[in-house]
Symmetry: C2
Subunit: 328 residues, 2 copies
Amino acid sequence: MDGTRVFLANSNQHINIGKETHSRNGFVYVKNPHLDLMEEDILYHLDLGTKTHNLPAMFGDIKFVCVGGSPNRMKAFAQFMQKELGHEGEDNDLKNICAGTDRYSMYKVGPVLSISHGMGIPSISIMLHELIKLLHHAKCCDVTIIRIGTSGGLGVEPGSVVITDVAVDSFFKPQFEQVILDRVVTRSTELDQDLASELLKCSGKDFPTLIGHTMCTYDFYEGQGRLDGALCCFSNEKKLEYLKRAYNAGVRNIEMESTVFAAMCRLCGLKAAVICVTLLNRLEGDQIKASHEVLAEYQRRPQQLIATLIKKRLGLINDKELLDNAIV
Amino acid sequence: MDGTRVFLANSNQHINIGKETHSRNGFVYVKNPHLDLMEEDILYHLDLGTKTHNLPAMFGDIKFVCVGGSPNRMKAFAQFMQKELGHEGEDNDLKNICAGTDRYSMYKVGPVLSISHGMGIPSISIMLHELIKLLHHAKCCDVTIIRIGTSGGLGVEPGSVVITDVAVDSFFKPQFEQVILDRVVTRSTELDQDLASELLKCSGKDFPTLIGHTMCTYDFYEGQGRLDGALCCFSNEKKLEYLKRAYNAGVRNIEMESTVFAAMCRLCGLKAAVICVTLLNRLEGDQIKASHEVLAEYQRRPQQLIATLIKKRLGLINDKELLDNAIV
């Protein structure tokens, strides 16, 4: 990856702690020497803790973690997985594990954990810190984590599903800048390429699926070049010039969480993927005008892809069935 | 304000569109020439729109907007305002105006609007763009907006309420950096000083209230110098050295939304304040260990202050009653 090499070469002025990226023995690990010294760890925003909950018993069997912005969508995904994995009789058991807080929602279906993360880098970052500690305390092993999101598309048909190869910032760089105390630390945002390829193989004929760069911004309006916010000081021409430059740099969709998600998962030995459906083509407009029904159907698309991957990994479908459904 | 002068003097390399800060005729205004050309404006994340809803009829009488991270807390605030304003009989009417989406929750009690904004700058920024457009479309006039939040305290007793005079970033600068297309625009984060003083006068004897700087970060763990995240590469000494520098710069609490809130409200002619209760003293620890009951009582404190301000403005209490309750 040329972009990553350039970024690493240019990052000498920053601290770089992104080199050690493989997990030891498949365990999720934390990179924090202070944690071992703590008698208790309260995962405040999840309303869980090491003294109040038996985390290995509750979560030790987790193999797949799926995260997404909207609590309702992540509940719907958990219900969908109940059906897909034949856990339907357990409907009454599908309770929100984080019911004691309204910051995030969490559901568990067998080896699958479904969690909401709200909108934006800071919101997903809080959840990821606590989730990674949770998986560590629970001694989880060989965990795959996938973000299922919504996004604005760039030069792709609305409803297309984009599997991210690398998350880039507003300047099209494959990096995430984390402020630590008052120093800026640059982290790599590359995702697991094998997982991205495996996910692409799970796609079917029902909707377009592609691999591309995903741009992650701090803002939905000015930061994504929208003309319809409360504040806007640029022209339609400047907007299109920027979005076209993004397209030429390989960006196929824009969202608000992928860089920090890629950076943190990479540092903690989690194999990670980002799959977002595009709700509109940003080269054609800014407002999301599709009906609730159309948008709801779009949002089920990444879920179908992930369900196929999980069932394949669990041996519930075989390669032949996968091929029968695939675009050849 | 020395800090602000230094910032303005240093900001020549950036675009600065933060100078025009007073509202014309008390109306909330948008700074976006494109909006007038739009036939319809869909406020996507609020599930409202100019063609589907009569916004002036629904919201035209709004004078006070209170925003806060947690949906449950903002519902509790609306219920509290029902009692305070004598709207108790209307309990059944307290419905979530944004029920069609799970991104934000919104409640209206007479002239008071209560809205949740999630966690972090990107999340509150989306809400503010759509809220400001909503107030503009509804032709609202003389609106006061207050963020009621939770925060980490710095050298103040847990449960103290901090009224922000100016929001500062991780480098203690009174500014917010907004990426627009791929340029960085620096905006002032000063809040309305008269409103801050008026709020301080509404405080009583029940809990400590003070005016101070509020530091706003992009992250709860590494960005706030916490030792208990999934990632941590600094020592307890480095952490305390940073937090003490923040204290010496005038910071009394740390949260994750105030800079963009101050910057956007200022640009759109909204008189704005930030009032946060502190859940712990960060010089003494990182984990929030107080019981649910204690934390719930803490979170009602900023609400009491705002209720007093609103009742005073509406003529429901007079200056004598205020003085009787005040610390003299």
